[in-house]
Symmetry: C2
Subunit: 351 residues, 2 copies
Amino acid sequence: MNNNYYAIVMAGGVGSRFWPVSTAEFPKQFHDMLGCGVTLLQKTFSRLEQLIPPENILILTNERYNDLVLEQLPKVHPNQILLEPAMRNTAPCILYATLKIQKLNPNAMMVVAPSDHWIENETAFIEDLQTAFDFCEKNDALMTLGIQPTFPNTGFGYIEFNKEDKNQIKKVQQFREKPDYETAKKFLESGNFLWNGGIFIWSVQSVLQAFERFQPQLLALFSEGIPTYNTQAESEFITQNYALAENISIDYAVMEHAENVFVLPARFDWNDLGTWGSLYDKLPKDVNENAIINSKVIIENASNNIIRSNAKKLIIVDGLNDFIIVDHNDVLLIYPKSKEQEIKSLIEKVK
Amino acid sequence: MNNNYYAIVMAGGVGSRFWPVSTAEFPKQFHDMLGCGVTLLQKTFSRLEQLIPPENILILTNERYNDLVLEQLPKVHPNQILLEPAMRNTAPCILYATLKIQKLNPNAMMVVAPSDHWIENETAFIEDLQTAFDFCEKNDALMTLGIQPTFPNTGFGYIEFNKEDKNQIKKVQQFREKPDYETAKKFLESGNFLWNGGIFIWSVQSVLQAFERFQPQLLALFSEGIPTYNTQAESEFITQNYALAENISIDYAVMEHAENVFVLPARFDWNDLGTWGSLYDKLPKDVNENAIINSKVIIENASNNIIRSNAKKLIIVDGLNDFIIVDHNDVLLIYPKSKEQEIKSLIEKVK
């Protein structure tokens, strides 16, 4: 295993569209969303571990989730967990992690990976990741794995590459924000657009050069902490300075400006598990297309439902189609799949 | 309070149409079905207590429910609970209770009352009960309180009285078994039919005479135990002999044969709480005709549902009409109200 390989796992999200299972106290990435016996974070860690030494995998998360990470990833040492004292989007925390890694190993290669996505074919993922690492080792490149779009999703950002580029790894023309439906349809038709899955690969050196060029202020803020990183003083520095960072995404801070951005069209399937509906798509179904997570069920005259509870629960459903049925602790949700985007707003009503 | 007044509360049923709340381990009468803070048995007891000395109220139930009765009715002494070692319908247990009461008080007047029905107007009930007691004190009569039918229910037995009879208390012409829908409609049109709500009033003397005439074998069986009743030896006698009794209802054993049967048309409203639907009828509703028991709810685009859980549970329902939604321990039932009669059969499927 290559000791220069590092990963940053982004595990600070809240996953509010998966309420009531996912909550601010216990978000989606810490749940076994698919009922397969491991949580999304555990699945992400074990996937990365196939190529990256486990001690080189850093977890970026909110202070309140520190114990959850330690509990779910027994291989992870407390100093592999980077705690964000405030929500500042992806650029500040990626920069912070990068500077820590640079101090440990200036030749490091890094992958930034979300903690809450689903990838079925892990072998293809690892092969694509290796291809990207190899490219970034030889070139001053900021890379991303682009997801082959399967429908005109308006919830994702897109990556446009040059149509004429016949290389496996293609130069990115531009990042495109979430499009409307008509635009998304055109993206799919033109064939040179990929979904931005938030997976980035680069050398520490390349990404720090990009920060230097496009975000000198942010780099200055976090560089001041370098003497403290990986020491007892780090925590105090971060507590005092982290909130001063601009709230900005890595896409907007760096990727959209840089000219050395490349994309490898991913060969693995991918699902962002962003809503109950996308989770439904990933799950095995019964003859009537009902997807069951954990529950024991008696289902009659019911189809296309997603049903989730703890494993002890018996759920009897009759006469219901296209519903989300989730029983979790003291909440029972019976909600049309077509309104999955509105689940987020229920949280406010509950308060 | 008249010390000659006694009651037998029938509390041995299972209420399987109220599954999953009502189970063989914890039947309907021991639940607070309406979410009013007391169980149906407690409500029945406190209703009878307004006219009958509490120590004269006997509870007939199955051995397995002894602890439940003692727990729910702290005023009841263990020797007020008559435990049926086997299911033998109503005639054997009523006879057994009657003989015990006779031994305590040969001048006793009795009411037999189900433990799991709902009566809103308790004052009217007590007045009707008093009228019946008064009649039975003066006459050798077997009385019943007949419920004014409100629709052609095919699930109840009916009591036919003479149309010409202008007395408040009417002579019964015959008991009629559960009719088909057309017959039930005719019953309602003719105006001299009442529902049989299983409430009977008589003197110990009158009912024992009826048993002597129509069920001499049954009377002989239980009379043999008289020396043991209300003594330490009672339990052993009952254990050894109860199962020998014929499985027969009081209607079929006595009421349908006797000529001295009278009915008082009840002035109180009544609900047998036989199904989730009849419970729904009794409950207060929100603007969209949803009936909620205990649950906290967020309801949108949903009407005519009955929703029940424990009081801690938050239930969010959207897009559902005419459903029974019951969350109870490890079972969640989401079932169309129109299929309430089939809930009973679910219990088999669950096994």
